[in-house]
Symmetry: D2
Subunit: 153 residues, 4 copies
Protein backbone atom coordinates (compact mmCIF):
# COMPACT_ATOMS: atom_id res chain seq x y z
CA UNK A 1 0.00 0.00 0.00
CA UNK A 2 1.25 3.46 -0.97
CA UNK A 3 0.97 5.63 2.15
CA UNK A 4 -0.28 9.22 1.62
CA UNK A 5 2.31 11.96 2.30
CA UNK A 6 0.44 13.28 5.37
CA UNK A 7 0.92 9.97 7.21
CA UNK A 8 4.34 9.13 8.66
CA UNK A 9 3.82 5.71 10.20
CA UNK A 10 0.53 4.16 9.13
CA UNK A 11 0.37 1.70 12.04
CA UNK A 12 1.00 4.40 14.65
CA UNK A 13 -1.34 6.72 12.80
CA UNK A 14 -4.24 4.25 12.85
CA UNK A 15 -3.81 3.68 16.57
CA UNK A 16 -3.81 7.42 17.34
CA UNK A 17 -7.53 8.02 16.70
CA UNK A 18 -9.78 8.34 19.75
CA UNK A 19 -13.05 9.52 18.20
CA UNK A 20 -15.14 7.56 15.70
CA UNK A 21 -18.65 7.26 14.34
CA UNK A 22 -20.37 4.48 12.45
CA UNK A 23 -21.79 5.07 8.94
CA UNK A 24 -23.57 2.56 6.73
CA UNK A 25 -23.40 3.12 2.95
CA UNK A 26 -26.76 4.19 1.51
CA UNK A 27 -28.02 2.97 -1.86
CA UNK A 28 -28.34 6.57 -3.06
CA UNK A 29 -24.61 7.01 -2.32
CA UNK A 30 -23.53 4.35 -4.82
CA UNK A 31 -23.10 5.13 -8.53
CA UNK A 32 -23.43 3.30 -11.83
CA UNK A 33 -19.99 1.72 -11.32
CA UNK A 34 -21.65 -0.22 -8.47
CA UNK A 35 -19.63 1.23 -5.58
CA UNK A 36 -19.71 4.19 -3.23
CA UNK A 37 -19.39 7.33 -5.33
CA UNK A 38 -16.09 8.99 -4.43
CA UNK A 39 -17.71 12.34 -3.57
CA UNK A 40 -19.51 10.77 -0.60
CA UNK A 41 -16.24 10.12 1.24
CA UNK A 42 -16.30 13.85 2.00
CA UNK A 43 -19.89 13.62 3.27
CA UNK A 44 -18.73 10.89 5.68
CA UNK A 45 -15.71 12.94 6.79
CA UNK A 46 -17.99 15.95 7.37
CA UNK A 47 -20.33 13.83 9.46
CA UNK A 48 -17.42 12.57 11.59
CA UNK A 49 -16.14 16.14 11.86
CA UNK A 50 -19.44 17.70 12.98
CA UNK A 51 -19.99 14.88 15.48
CA UNK A 52 -16.44 15.52 16.72
CA UNK A 53 -17.21 19.25 17.06
CA UNK A 54 -20.35 18.33 18.96
CA UNK A 55 -18.45 16.05 21.34
CA UNK A 56 -16.08 18.96 22.04
CA UNK A 57 -19.04 21.25 22.74
CA UNK A 58 -18.25 23.52 19.75
CA UNK A 59 -21.21 22.86 17.45
CA UNK A 60 -23.73 24.72 19.64
CA UNK A 61 -21.57 27.85 19.48
CA UNK A 62 -21.10 27.66 15.70
CA UNK A 63 -24.75 27.09 14.90
CA UNK A 64 -25.90 29.82 17.31
CA UNK A 65 -27.11 32.78 15.23
CA UNK A 66 -26.18 35.22 18.02
CA UNK A 67 -22.55 34.10 18.05
CA UNK A 68 -20.14 35.75 15.58
CA UNK A 69 -17.99 32.64 15.13
CA UNK A 70 -18.40 29.88 12.59
CA UNK A 71 -16.12 27.28 11.09
CA UNK A 72 -15.07 26.72 7.48
CA UNK A 73 -13.13 24.09 5.64
CA UNK A 74 -9.96 25.49 4.05
CA UNK A 75 -8.94 22.33 2.24
CA UNK A 76 -9.87 18.64 2.14
CA UNK A 77 -8.27 15.58 0.68
CA UNK A 78 -9.03 11.88 0.56
CA UNK A 79 -7.13 8.78 -0.51
CA UNK A 80 -9.24 5.87 -1.71
CA UNK A 81 -7.49 2.65 -0.68
CA UNK A 82 -10.28 0.13 -1.02
CA UNK A 83 -13.54 0.05 -2.98
CA UNK A 84 -16.58 0.43 -0.75
CA UNK A 85 -19.95 -1.21 -1.49
CA UNK A 86 -23.59 -0.60 -0.70
CA UNK A 87 -24.57 -1.43 2.89
CA UNK A 88 -21.00 -1.71 4.19
CA UNK A 89 -20.65 -0.46 7.75
CA UNK A 90 -17.73 1.95 8.09
CA UNK A 91 -15.97 3.14 11.22
CA UNK A 92 -15.10 6.75 10.39
CA UNK A 93 -12.45 8.31 12.64
CA UNK A 94 -11.26 11.88 13.09
CA UNK A 95 -8.56 13.56 15.19
CA UNK A 96 -6.70 16.84 15.48
CA UNK A 97 -3.27 16.36 13.92
CA UNK A 98 -1.92 19.86 14.51
CA UNK A 99 -3.36 22.94 16.15
CA UNK A 100 -2.98 26.47 14.79
CA UNK A 101 -3.94 29.86 16.20
CA UNK A 102 -7.41 29.82 14.63
CA UNK A 103 -7.13 26.61 12.63
CA UNK A 104 -6.65 22.89 13.05
CA UNK A 105 -5.38 20.19 10.74
CA UNK A 106 -7.80 17.27 11.07
CA UNK A 107 -7.02 13.73 9.97
CA UNK A 108 -9.59 11.14 8.95
CA UNK A 109 -9.71 7.37 8.50
CA UNK A 110 -12.46 4.95 7.52
CA UNK A 111 -12.27 1.21 7.91
CA UNK A 112 -14.75 -1.50 6.99
CA UNK A 113 -16.17 -4.31 9.14
CA UNK A 114 -13.11 -6.49 8.44
CA UNK A 115 -10.88 -3.74 9.84
CA UNK A 116 -9.47 -2.93 6.40
CA UNK A 117 -8.53 0.72 5.95
CA UNK A 118 -10.65 2.02 3.03
CA UNK A 119 -10.21 5.80 3.19
CA UNK A 120 -7.67 8.16 4.69
CA UNK A 121 -7.90 11.92 4.59
CA UNK A 122 -6.97 15.25 6.03
CA UNK A 123 -8.06 18.87 5.88
CA UNK A 124 -7.65 22.21 7.57
CA UNK A 125 -10.56 23.84 9.36
CA UNK A 126 -10.54 27.52 10.32
CA UNK A 127 -12.69 29.37 12.83
CA UNK A 128 -13.83 32.64 11.25
CA UNK A 129 -15.92 35.67 12.13
CA UNK A 130 -19.34 35.71 10.43
CA UNK A 131 -19.17 39.46 10.20
CA UNK A 132 -15.64 40.09 8.88
CA UNK A 133 -15.04 36.70 7.28
CA UNK A 134 -11.54 36.75 8.83
CA UNK A 135 -9.96 34.04 10.94
CA UNK A 136 -10.80 34.11 14.64
CA UNK A 137 -8.29 32.74 17.17
CA UNK A 138 -9.45 29.87 19.40
CA UNK A 139 -10.29 31.16 22.86
CA UNK A 140 -8.46 29.67 25.85
CA UNK A 141 -11.21 27.18 26.58
CA UNK A 142 -11.46 25.89 23.00
CA UNK A 143 -7.70 25.73 22.72
CA UNK A 144 -7.42 23.55 25.81
CA UNK A 145 -10.15 21.21 24.64
CA UNK A 146 -8.52 20.90 21.21
CA UNK A 147 -5.07 20.29 22.67
CA UNK A 148 -6.28 17.31 24.67
CA UNK A 149 -7.40 15.80 21.36
CA UNK A 150 -4.29 16.63 19.35
CA UNK A 151 -2.12 13.67 18.43
CA UNK A 152 0.68 14.55 16.01
CA UNK A 153 1.34 11.07 14.68
CA UNK B 1 -49.25 4.80 -19.86
CA UNK B 2 -51.03 5.15 -16.53
CA UNK B 3 -51.66 8.87 -16.05
CA UNK B 4 -51.15 10.21 -12.48
CA UNK B 5 -54.34 11.43 -10.73
CA UNK B 6 -53.23 15.08 -10.72
CA UNK B 7 -53.23 15.19 -14.54
CA UNK B 8 -56.54 15.37 -16.39
CA UNK B 9 -55.51 15.39 -20.04
CA UNK B 10 -51.85 14.48 -20.47
CA UNK B 11 -51.54 16.05 -23.94
CA UNK B 12 -53.09 19.34 -22.85
CA UNK B 13 -51.08 19.21 -19.65
CA UNK B 14 -47.75 18.84 -21.44
CA UNK B 15 -48.54 21.77 -23.72
CA UNK B 16 -49.44 24.03 -20.79
CA UNK B 17 -45.88 24.53 -19.47
CA UNK B 18 -44.18 27.81 -20.29
CA UNK B 19 -41.07 27.67 -18.11
CA UNK B 20 -38.29 25.11 -18.41
CA UNK B 21 -34.64 24.53 -17.60
CA UNK B 22 -32.13 22.06 -18.93
CA UNK B 23 -30.43 19.55 -16.64
CA UNK B 24 -27.86 16.92 -17.59
CA UNK B 25 -27.65 13.80 -15.40
CA UNK B 26 -24.44 13.70 -13.35
CA UNK B 27 -22.52 10.50 -12.72
CA UNK B 28 -22.82 11.04 -8.97
CA UNK B 29 -26.62 11.07 -9.41
CA UNK B 30 -26.76 7.51 -10.74
CA UNK B 31 -26.85 4.49 -8.42
CA UNK B 32 -25.69 0.88 -8.46
CA UNK B 33 -28.74 -0.08 -10.55
CA UNK B 34 -27.09 1.96 -13.35
CA UNK B 35 -29.76 4.67 -13.65
CA UNK B 36 -30.63 8.02 -12.12
CA UNK B 37 -31.32 7.44 -8.43
CA UNK B 38 -35.01 8.22 -7.81
CA UNK B 39 -34.27 10.75 -5.05
CA UNK B 40 -32.60 13.08 -7.55
CA UNK B 41 -35.86 13.73 -9.40
CA UNK B 42 -36.70 15.99 -6.47
CA UNK B 43 -33.35 17.78 -6.76
CA UNK B 44 -34.20 18.48 -10.42
CA UNK B 45 -37.71 19.68 -9.52
CA UNK B 46 -36.24 21.97 -6.85
CA UNK B 47 -33.77 23.40 -9.35
CA UNK B 48 -36.60 24.11 -11.82
CA UNK B 49 -38.66 25.60 -8.98
CA UNK B 50 -35.95 27.94 -7.68
CA UNK B 51 -35.14 29.07 -11.23
CA UNK B 52 -38.86 29.67 -11.71
CA UNK B 53 -38.98 31.72 -8.47
CA UNK B 54 -35.99 33.66 -9.73
CA UNK B 55 -37.65 34.36 -13.08
CA UNK B 56 -40.66 35.71 -11.16
CA UNK B 57 -38.39 37.94 -9.06
CA UNK B 58 -39.24 36.10 -5.79
CA UNK B 59 -35.92 34.45 -4.95
CA UNK B 60 -34.19 37.70 -3.99
CA UNK B 61 -36.92 38.41 -1.44
CA UNK B 62 -36.85 34.92 0.06
CA UNK B 63 -33.06 34.74 0.42
CA UNK B 64 -32.86 38.26 1.87
CA UNK B 65 -32.06 37.95 5.58
CA UNK B 66 -33.83 41.24 6.33
CA UNK B 67 -37.12 40.01 4.84
CA UNK B 68 -39.48 38.04 7.12
CA UNK B 69 -40.84 35.86 4.29
CA UNK B 70 -39.51 32.55 3.07
CA UNK B 71 -40.96 29.63 1.19
CA UNK B 72 -41.37 26.01 2.20
CA UNK B 73 -42.45 22.85 0.46
CA UNK B 74 -45.60 21.37 2.02
CA UNK B 75 -45.67 18.21 -0.07
CA UNK B 76 -43.98 16.76 -3.14
CA UNK B 77 -44.66 13.82 -5.41
CA UNK B 78 -43.12 12.32 -8.49
CA UNK B 79 -44.15 9.65 -10.99
CA UNK B 80 -41.31 7.81 -12.71
CA UNK B 81 -42.46 6.97 -16.24
CA UNK B 82 -39.19 6.19 -17.95
CA UNK B 83 -35.76 5.15 -16.67
CA UNK B 84 -33.18 7.91 -16.98
CA UNK B 85 -29.49 7.29 -17.64
CA UNK B 86 -26.19 9.04 -16.98
CA UNK B 87 -25.54 12.04 -19.22
CA UNK B 88 -29.11 12.32 -20.53
CA UNK B 89 -30.17 15.90 -21.09
CA UNK B 90 -33.56 16.59 -19.52
CA UNK B 91 -35.93 19.47 -20.13
CA UNK B 92 -37.45 20.09 -16.70
CA UNK B 93 -40.64 22.14 -16.71
CA UNK B 94 -42.61 23.81 -13.94
CA UNK B 95 -45.88 25.78 -13.78
CA UNK B 96 -48.43 27.02 -11.27
CA UNK B 97 -51.41 24.74 -11.43
CA UNK B 98 -53.55 26.43 -8.80
CA UNK B 99 -53.04 29.49 -6.64
CA UNK B 100 -54.00 29.74 -2.97
CA UNK B 101 -53.97 32.61 -0.48
CA UNK B 102 -50.40 31.95 0.64
CA UNK B 103 -49.71 28.77 -1.29
CA UNK B 104 -49.44 27.46 -4.83
CA UNK B 105 -49.79 24.01 -6.32
CA UNK B 106 -46.86 23.58 -8.72
CA UNK B 107 -46.73 20.95 -11.44
CA UNK B 108 -43.53 19.50 -12.90
CA UNK B 109 -42.54 17.52 -16.01
CA UNK B 110 -39.23 16.23 -17.32
CA UNK B 111 -38.66 14.94 -20.82
CA UNK B 112 -35.56 13.51 -22.44
CA UNK B 113 -33.87 14.52 -25.71
CA UNK B 114 -36.28 12.32 -27.71
CA UNK B 115 -39.22 14.25 -26.24
CA UNK B 116 -40.28 11.27 -24.14
CA UNK B 117 -41.92 12.21 -20.84
CA UNK B 118 -39.76 10.65 -18.08
CA UNK B 119 -41.01 12.31 -14.89
CA UNK B 120 -44.18 14.07 -13.83
CA UNK B 121 -44.75 15.64 -10.46
CA UNK B 122 -46.55 18.10 -8.28
CA UNK B 123 -46.26 19.76 -4.91
CA UNK B 124 -47.60 22.58 -2.79
CA UNK B 125 -45.37 25.45 -1.79
CA UNK B 126 -46.30 27.86 1.00
CA UNK B 127 -44.96 31.31 1.78
CA UNK B 128 -44.34 31.55 5.52
CA UNK B 129 -43.08 34.07 8.06
CA UNK B 130 -39.57 33.32 9.31
CA UNK B 131 -40.53 34.68 12.71
CA UNK B 132 -43.88 33.03 13.39
CA UNK B 133 -43.52 30.03 11.07
CA UNK B 134 -47.11 30.70 9.95
CA UNK B 135 -48.35 31.04 6.37
CA UNK B 136 -48.04 34.51 4.86
CA UNK B 137 -50.50 35.62 2.17
CA UNK B 138 -49.07 36.58 -1.22
CA UNK B 139 -48.98 40.35 -1.54
CA UNK B 140 -50.83 41.99 -4.47
CA UNK B 141 -47.74 42.13 -6.66
CA UNK B 142 -46.75 38.51 -6.11
CA UNK B 143 -50.32 37.38 -6.62
CA UNK B 144 -50.53 39.10 -9.98
CA UNK B 145 -47.24 37.67 -11.15
CA UNK B 146 -48.27 34.18 -10.07
CA UNK B 147 -51.69 34.47 -11.73
CA UNK B 148 -50.16 35.22 -15.12
CA UNK B 149 -48.29 31.90 -14.80
CA UNK B 150 -51.22 29.83 -13.54
CA UNK B 151 -52.54 27.27 -16.01
CA UNK B 152 -55.13 24.92 -14.52
CA UNK B 153 -54.84 22.14 -17.06
CA UNK C 1 -53.06 18.96 11.05
CA UNK C 2 -54.23 18.31 7.51
CA UNK C 3 -54.02 14.56 7.01
CA UNK C 4 -52.72 13.42 3.57
CA UNK C 5 -55.28 11.61 1.39
CA UNK C 6 -53.46 8.26 1.60
CA UNK C 7 -54.01 8.09 5.36
CA UNK C 8 -57.46 7.20 6.71
CA UNK C 9 -57.00 7.36 10.48
CA UNK C 10 -53.71 8.98 11.42
CA UNK C 11 -53.61 7.45 14.93
CA UNK C 12 -54.27 3.95 13.65
CA UNK C 13 -51.87 4.53 10.81
CA UNK C 14 -49.01 5.55 13.08
CA UNK C 15 -49.51 2.49 15.25
CA UNK C 16 -49.49 0.14 12.24
CA UNK C 17 -45.75 0.39 11.48
CA UNK C 18 -43.55 -2.50 12.59
CA UNK C 19 -40.25 -1.69 10.91
CA UNK C 20 -38.14 1.38 11.58
CA UNK C 21 -34.59 2.69 11.32
CA UNK C 22 -32.87 5.61 12.99
CA UNK C 23 -31.37 8.46 10.91
CA UNK C 24 -29.59 11.55 12.23
CA UNK C 25 -29.69 14.67 10.03
CA UNK C 26 -26.29 15.45 8.48
CA UNK C 27 -25.00 18.99 8.12
CA UNK C 28 -24.60 18.47 4.36
CA UNK C 29 -28.34 17.65 4.22
CA UNK C 30 -29.39 21.08 5.46
CA UNK C 31 -29.75 24.06 3.11
CA UNK C 32 -29.37 27.83 3.27
CA UNK C 33 -32.85 28.11 4.87
CA UNK C 34 -31.26 26.40 7.90
CA UNK C 35 -33.32 23.20 7.85
CA UNK C 36 -33.25 19.77 6.25
CA UNK C 37 -33.49 20.26 2.50
CA UNK C 38 -36.79 18.74 1.35
CA UNK C 39 -35.15 16.46 -1.23
CA UNK C 40 -33.43 14.48 1.53
CA UNK C 41 -36.74 13.16 2.87
CA UNK C 42 -36.65 10.82 -0.12
CA UNK C 43 -33.08 9.75 0.72
CA UNK C 44 -34.31 8.83 4.21
CA UNK C 45 -37.33 6.95 2.81
CA UNK C 46 -35.05 5.07 0.42
CA UNK C 47 -32.76 4.11 3.28
CA UNK C 48 -35.72 2.81 5.31
CA UNK C 49 -36.97 0.99 2.22
CA UNK C 50 -33.68 -0.74 1.37
CA UNK C 51 -33.20 -1.74 5.01
CA UNK C 52 -36.76 -3.08 4.95
CA UNK C 53 -35.96 -5.06 1.75
CA UNK C 54 -32.86 -6.37 3.47
CA UNK C 55 -34.83 -7.45 6.55
CA UNK C 56 -37.19 -9.37 4.23
CA UNK C 57 -34.22 -11.06 2.52
CA UNK C 58 -34.92 -9.37 -0.86
CA UNK C 59 -31.93 -7.07 -1.22
CA UNK C 60 -29.45 -9.87 -1.86
CA UNK C 61 -31.56 -11.11 -4.78
CA UNK C 62 -31.97 -7.64 -6.31
CA UNK C 63 -28.30 -6.70 -6.12
CA UNK C 64 -27.17 -10.08 -7.45
CA UNK C 65 -25.92 -9.55 -11.02
CA UNK C 66 -26.86 -13.13 -11.96
CA UNK C 67 -30.51 -12.62 -11.01
CA UNK C 68 -32.85 -11.14 -13.63
CA UNK C 69 -35.01 -9.32 -11.07
CA UNK C 70 -34.57 -5.82 -9.72
CA UNK C 71 -36.85 -3.29 -8.12
CA UNK C 72 -37.85 0.18 -9.23
CA UNK C 73 -39.78 3.02 -7.73
CA UNK C 74 -42.89 3.87 -9.76
CA UNK C 75 -43.91 6.91 -7.75
CA UNK C 76 -43.02 8.63 -4.49
CA UNK C 77 -44.63 11.32 -2.41
CA UNK C 78 -43.91 13.07 0.86
CA UNK C 79 -45.83 15.43 3.13
CA UNK C 80 -43.72 17.78 5.24
CA UNK C 81 -45.52 18.32 8.55
CA UNK C 82 -42.76 19.72 10.71
CA UNK C 83 -39.46 21.47 9.93
CA UNK C 84 -36.46 19.28 10.66
CA UNK C 85 -33.13 20.63 11.85
CA UNK C 86 -29.48 19.61 11.76
CA UNK C 87 -28.58 16.75 14.09
CA UNK C 88 -32.16 15.74 14.86
CA UNK C 89 -32.55 12.01 15.31
CA UNK C 90 -35.45 10.65 13.26
CA UNK C 91 -37.24 7.36 13.55
CA UNK C 92 -38.07 6.48 9.94
CA UNK C 93 -40.73 3.82 9.50
CA UNK C 94 -41.91 1.83 6.50
CA UNK C 95 -44.65 -0.75 5.89
CA UNK C 96 -46.48 -2.45 3.04
CA UNK C 97 -49.86 -0.81 2.71
CA UNK C 98 -51.18 -2.89 -0.18
CA UNK C 99 -49.74 -5.75 -2.19
CA UNK C 100 -50.07 -6.12 -5.97
CA UNK C 101 -49.09 -8.89 -8.37
CA UNK C 102 -45.60 -7.49 -8.97
CA UNK C 103 -45.88 -4.28 -6.98
CA UNK C 104 -46.41 -2.98 -3.48
CA UNK C 105 -47.67 0.30 -2.10
CA UNK C 106 -45.29 1.28 0.70
CA UNK C 107 -46.09 3.85 3.37
CA UNK C 108 -43.51 5.89 5.27
CA UNK C 109 -43.42 7.98 8.45
CA UNK C 110 -40.67 9.89 10.23
CA UNK C 111 -40.91 11.22 13.75
CA UNK C 112 -38.44 13.22 15.81
CA UNK C 113 -37.12 12.53 19.31
CA UNK C 114 -40.17 14.15 20.89
CA UNK C 115 -42.39 11.70 19.01
CA UNK C 116 -43.73 14.44 16.73
CA UNK C 117 -44.62 13.24 13.24
CA UNK C 118 -42.44 15.25 10.81
CA UNK C 119 -42.83 13.42 7.50
CA UNK C 120 -45.38 11.05 6.01
CA UNK C 121 -45.11 9.46 2.60
CA UNK C 122 -46.02 6.69 0.23
CA UNK C 123 -44.90 5.21 -3.04
CA UNK C 124 -45.31 2.19 -5.28
CA UNK C 125 -42.42 -0.15 -5.91
CA UNK C 126 -42.40 -2.65 -8.76
CA UNK C 127 -40.30 -5.74 -9.27
CA UNK C 128 -39.10 -5.80 -12.88
CA UNK C 129 -37.00 -7.96 -15.17
CA UNK C 130 -33.57 -6.48 -15.90
CA UNK C 131 -33.69 -7.97 -19.37
CA UNK C 132 -37.18 -7.02 -20.57
CA UNK C 133 -37.78 -4.05 -18.26
CA UNK C 134 -41.31 -5.44 -17.67
CA UNK C 135 -42.94 -6.09 -14.32
CA UNK C 136 -42.17 -9.47 -12.76
CA UNK C 137 -44.73 -11.08 -10.44
CA UNK C 138 -43.66 -11.81 -6.84
CA UNK C 139 -42.87 -15.50 -6.46
CA UNK C 140 -44.75 -17.50 -3.82
CA UNK C 141 -42.06 -17.05 -1.19
CA UNK C 142 -41.75 -13.28 -1.63
CA UNK C 143 -45.51 -12.93 -1.66
CA UNK C 144 -45.87 -14.71 1.64
CA UNK C 145 -43.14 -12.64 3.26
CA UNK C 146 -44.70 -9.41 2.00
CA UNK C 147 -48.20 -10.43 3.12
CA UNK C 148 -47.05 -10.89 6.72
CA UNK C 149 -45.89 -7.26 6.61
CA UNK C 150 -48.96 -5.82 4.91
CA UNK C 151 -51.13 -3.61 7.12
CA UNK C 152 -53.89 -1.80 5.23
CA UNK C 153 -54.51 0.95 7.75
CA UNK D 1 -3.41 34.03 -1.19
CA UNK D 2 -1.66 30.88 0.01
CA UNK D 3 -1.01 28.78 -3.10
CA UNK D 4 -1.58 25.01 -2.71
CA UNK D 5 1.59 22.87 -2.95
CA UNK D 6 0.51 21.24 -6.24
CA UNK D 7 0.59 24.60 -8.04
CA UNK D 8 3.95 26.14 -8.98
CA UNK D 9 2.97 29.41 -10.63
CA UNK D 10 -0.70 30.24 -10.08
CA UNK D 11 -0.92 32.65 -13.03
CA UNK D 12 0.64 30.20 -15.47
CA UNK D 13 -1.42 27.42 -13.95
CA UNK D 14 -4.72 29.23 -14.48
CA UNK D 15 -3.86 29.93 -18.11
CA UNK D 16 -2.98 26.31 -18.80
CA UNK D 17 -6.56 24.94 -18.72
CA UNK D 18 -8.20 24.22 -22.07
CA UNK D 19 -11.36 22.38 -21.02
CA UNK D 20 -14.15 23.82 -18.91
CA UNK D 21 -17.83 23.39 -18.10
CA UNK D 22 -20.35 25.72 -16.53
CA UNK D 23 -22.13 24.79 -13.27
CA UNK D 24 -24.69 26.86 -11.39
CA UNK D 25 -24.99 26.29 -7.62
CA UNK D 26 -28.24 24.53 -6.68
CA UNK D 27 -30.20 25.42 -3.56
CA UNK D 28 -29.97 21.82 -2.36
CA UNK D 29 -26.17 22.15 -2.53
CA UNK D 30 -26.04 24.93 0.06
CA UNK D 31 -26.02 24.19 3.79
CA UNK D 32 -27.22 25.85 7.00
CA UNK D 33 -24.14 28.13 6.98
CA UNK D 34 -25.70 29.73 3.88
CA UNK D 35 -23.01 28.75 1.36
CA UNK D 36 -22.13 25.88 -0.93
CA UNK D 37 -21.51 22.85 1.24
CA UNK D 38 -17.84 21.90 0.88
CA UNK D 39 -18.60 18.31 -0.17
CA UNK D 40 -20.20 19.52 -3.41
CA UNK D 41 -16.89 20.86 -4.74
CA UNK D 42 -16.08 17.22 -5.44
CA UNK D 43 -19.40 16.73 -7.24
CA UNK D 44 -18.48 19.67 -9.49
CA UNK D 45 -14.97 18.30 -10.10
CA UNK D 46 -16.47 14.91 -10.97
CA UNK D 47 -18.86 16.53 -13.42
CA UNK D 48 -15.97 18.40 -15.10
CA UNK D 49 -13.96 15.18 -15.13
CA UNK D 50 -16.67 12.99 -16.70
CA UNK D 51 -17.39 15.67 -19.30
CA UNK D 52 -13.66 15.79 -19.98
CA UNK D 53 -13.58 11.97 -20.37
CA UNK D 54 -16.52 12.27 -22.74
CA UNK D 55 -14.80 14.94 -24.83
CA UNK D 56 -11.80 12.58 -25.13
CA UNK D 57 -14.08 9.73 -26.21
CA UNK D 58 -13.34 7.61 -23.10
CA UNK D 59 -16.66 7.64 -21.30
CA UNK D 60 -18.39 5.34 -23.82
CA UNK D 61 -15.69 2.70 -23.29
CA UNK D 62 -15.84 2.93 -19.49
CA UNK D 63 -19.62 2.73 -19.22
CA UNK D 64 -19.81 -0.14 -21.74
CA UNK D 65 -20.68 -3.32 -19.80
CA UNK D 66 -18.87 -5.49 -22.42
CA UNK D 67 -15.58 -3.63 -21.92
CA UNK D 68 -13.28 -4.82 -19.10
CA UNK D 69 -11.90 -1.32 -18.38
CA UNK D 70 -13.24 1.26 -15.97
CA UNK D 71 -11.79 4.23 -14.19
CA UNK D 72 -11.44 4.94 -10.48
CA UNK D 73 -10.36 7.89 -8.41
CA UNK D 74 -7.24 7.12 -6.33
CA UNK D 75 -7.18 10.40 -4.44
CA UNK D 76 -8.83 13.81 -4.53
CA UNK D 77 -8.15 17.14 -2.88
CA UNK D 78 -9.66 20.59 -2.95
CA UNK D 79 -8.61 24.00 -1.65
CA UNK D 80 -11.44 26.41 -0.84
CA UNK D 81 -10.25 29.93 -1.63
CA UNK D 82 -13.51 31.83 -1.74
CA UNK D 83 -16.97 31.18 -0.30
CA UNK D 84 -19.51 30.24 -2.95
CA UNK D 85 -23.19 31.15 -2.77
CA UNK D 86 -26.49 29.83 -4.09
CA UNK D 87 -27.05 30.49 -7.79
CA UNK D 88 -23.46 31.51 -8.55
CA UNK D 89 -22.33 30.39 -12.00
CA UNK D 90 -18.97 28.65 -11.86
CA UNK D 91 -16.55 27.89 -14.67
CA UNK D 92 -15.09 24.53 -13.68
CA UNK D 93 -11.88 23.57 -15.46
CA UNK D 94 -9.92 20.34 -15.69
CA UNK D 95 -6.65 19.30 -17.32
CA UNK D 96 -4.14 16.45 -17.26
CA UNK D 97 -1.18 17.58 -15.22
CA UNK D 98 0.93 14.45 -15.52
CA UNK D 99 0.42 11.16 -17.33
CA UNK D 100 1.32 7.76 -15.88
CA UNK D 101 1.29 4.26 -17.35
CA UNK D 102 -2.30 3.57 -16.34
CA UNK D 103 -3.00 6.74 -14.37
CA UNK D 104 -3.22 10.49 -14.77
CA UNK D 105 -2.88 13.35 -12.34
CA UNK D 106 -5.78 15.73 -13.06
CA UNK D 107 -5.91 19.34 -11.92
CA UNK D 108 -9.08 21.34 -11.34
CA UNK D 109 -10.05 24.99 -10.97
CA UNK D 110 -13.36 26.80 -10.45
CA UNK D 111 -13.87 30.50 -10.87
CA UNK D 112 -16.95 32.63 -10.37
CA UNK D 113 -18.57 35.13 -12.75
CA UNK D 114 -16.16 37.86 -11.64
CA UNK D 115 -13.23 35.66 -12.65
CA UNK D 116 -12.23 35.09 -9.03
CA UNK D 117 -10.65 31.71 -8.37
CA UNK D 118 -12.87 29.95 -5.79
CA UNK D 119 -11.66 26.35 -5.82
CA UNK D 120 -8.49 24.58 -6.89
CA UNK D 121 -7.95 20.85 -6.76
CA UNK D 122 -6.16 17.79 -7.99
CA UNK D 123 -6.50 14.03 -7.96
CA UNK D 124 -5.15 10.87 -9.52
CA UNK D 125 -7.37 8.70 -11.68
CA UNK D 126 -6.47 5.13 -12.58
CA UNK D 127 -7.78 2.90 -15.34
CA UNK D 128 -8.47 -0.54 -13.91
CA UNK D 129 -9.74 -3.91 -15.05
CA UNK D 130 -13.28 -4.68 -13.88
CA UNK D 131 -12.38 -8.35 -13.58
CA UNK D 132 -9.06 -8.23 -11.73
CA UNK D 133 -9.39 -4.83 -10.11
CA UNK D 134 -5.78 -4.14 -11.12
CA UNK D 135 -4.48 -1.12 -13.00
CA UNK D 136 -4.71 -1.33 -16.80
CA UNK D 137 -2.19 0.58 -18.93
CA UNK D 138 -3.55 3.19 -21.34
CA UNK D 139 -3.58 1.78 -24.88
CA UNK D 140 -1.67 3.65 -27.62
CA UNK D 141 -4.73 5.59 -28.77
CA UNK D 142 -5.77 6.73 -25.29
CA UNK D 143 -2.19 7.65 -24.44
CA UNK D 144 -1.89 9.89 -27.48
CA UNK D 145 -5.19 11.61 -26.76
CA UNK D 146 -4.22 12.20 -23.13
CA UNK D 147 -0.76 13.51 -24.07
CA UNK D 148 -2.24 16.22 -26.28
CA UNK D 149 -4.14 17.42 -23.19
CA UNK D 150 -1.26 17.21 -20.73
CA UNK D 151 0.10 20.54 -19.54
CA UNK D 152 2.63 20.25 -16.70
CA UNK D 153 2.35 23.77 -15.35
Amino acid sequence: MKVPAYITDIQEWQKSFQFSISIRVRFSETDAFGHLNNTNAFVYFEQARTDFYKSLGFMKKWTNEQDDSMVVVADMQCDYLQQIKFDEELKVQVKVHRLGRSSADLHYAAQNEKGILCLTGRGTIVQISKESGRSLAWNEEMREVLLTHTIET
